[in-house]
């Protein structure tokens, strides 16, 4: 290995790889909790997640305009199942039949629900 590549490797370690999920659980009847590999903790209101669904039927792919009317989602909507997608996202199957949203980890971390441990 050349000295240049060693230096660059060190630089990469300092900047740190993108965080992934360390643990995930249901906190109460409408809250999803995630602890990330950098030890930040997030909690998400599942109704809010349904209203912010990023899928192509909820957000126009070209204009990024939200097609889903958030107020059309009732307060009673709940997930049936939360599952990983690859190493970069999760998907939620909701009890209103909607299941196409892929919530990337970077999107979830941009939502204002993450705090330092």
């Amino acid at each position: 290995m050349t000295s240049t590549s060693t230096q660059q490797m060190t630089a990469r370690v300092q900047s740190g790889p993108a965080p992934r999920v360390k643990s995930i659980s249901q906190l109460d009847e409408r809250t999803l909790g995630i602890t990330w590999t950098d030890n930040l903790i997030s909690s998400f209101d599942v109704v809010d997640l349904r209203r912010k669904c990023p899928c192509a039927t909820c957000i126009d792919e070209w204009t990024h305009e939200q097609l889903l009317k958030p107020e059309s989602v009732p307060e009673t909507v709940r997930p049936l199942k939360v599952e990983s997608v690859g190493q970069y996202a999760l998907t939620i199957q909701f009890n209103d039949g909607h299941r196409t949203g892929i919530y990337t980890f970077s999107m979830l971390r941009r939502l204002p629900n993450t705090q330092k441990n």
Partner: protein, 380 residues
Amino acid sequence: MSLLKTVQEKLSSHFSRVTEESVRTTLSAIMDPDLGKDIVSLGFVRNLKVSGSDVTLDINLTTPACPVKDKMKTEAEELLRKIPGIGNITVNMTATTRGKVTQAGSPIAASLGGVKNIIAVASGKGGVGKSTTAVNLAYSLAASGSSVGLLDADVYGPSIPHMTKPNKPEQSNSNLINPPLAGSVRIMSIGLFAGGDKATILRGPMVSGVIKQFLTQVNWGELDYLIIDYPPGTGDIQLTLSQTAPITGAVVVTTPQDVALIDVRKAIAMFDTMKVPVLGVVETMSYFLCDGCTKKHYIFRDGGGRRVASEFGVSFLGEIPMEPNVANACDQGRPLVESDPQSIAARAYRDIAGAVAAQVSMIHEAYKDALNHFSIEWRA
């Protein structure tokens, strides 16, 4: 004065006893340059035995392809020799590759359950020497003692069978296909089934189906590294691969000129979106070595791969010169790192393999607490 010193040394060597603890303390001065911790805290020191004044131990690294293996051995021996009263020193270098791409119960467990790491070799555009890099990376890792598989995901232009000449595939007794060996590497490619010169004419969804079969119905067995030779570009097949299999990291291949770099940026951005860590950039056709002199002729400008790597903050893994024997080796079905191991290109490929293996170990250190796969049922 000198007599006194000799007596002192004799006495100290007589009275000081070599202990396991003194050996561990001494070895804790050795740092792993990639993981940034000392080798004792990392648990690398194993089977430590002190009998009288003699010391035997293993240093168990995270990959047999570790680029600093020999340096670490020498460093350990030199440090131990300074312990007063030490006798014979035996340091064995061993390695256990870290990683596990899937857990039991996952749909890919039957096929990939024994695979520790999956490395994508990709490029933004075709013709940059991606398959050549994948082949030489695979055989370099295998030569260092790792068990390696090579999956040719370029369904429309499978070149791996031509470059490695594997045996015919067989059906295993569990309805999985056994990937045939070419030398010491297990190979799977659509070219093994379709016949080398027949075109694969398939629509996108069919190709995705073939790729899924390669990842779910092939008996890959126990592998330290599965190298996937990606088709060029950022389309359907690349998405299917990254969504079906947990890719440990990606190596991006490019040639030096700007027009290739535009596309390599797209490939890096794609892996970034899929949150697959980019292990680094390999530049091929970097310069031409003629047979008359040792001057490096930079035909396609120089330093492009290095520039794009530093732009994205990823490692520049190395540059491969244009040498006629690189292409010759491919066409004869013998990887260059085996047919001409002392050539400049072969040495560059070996260094790249070492750097890739080191990067993979670093990723495991960073993600050692991460869940590879989760599924939770919501309670009403």
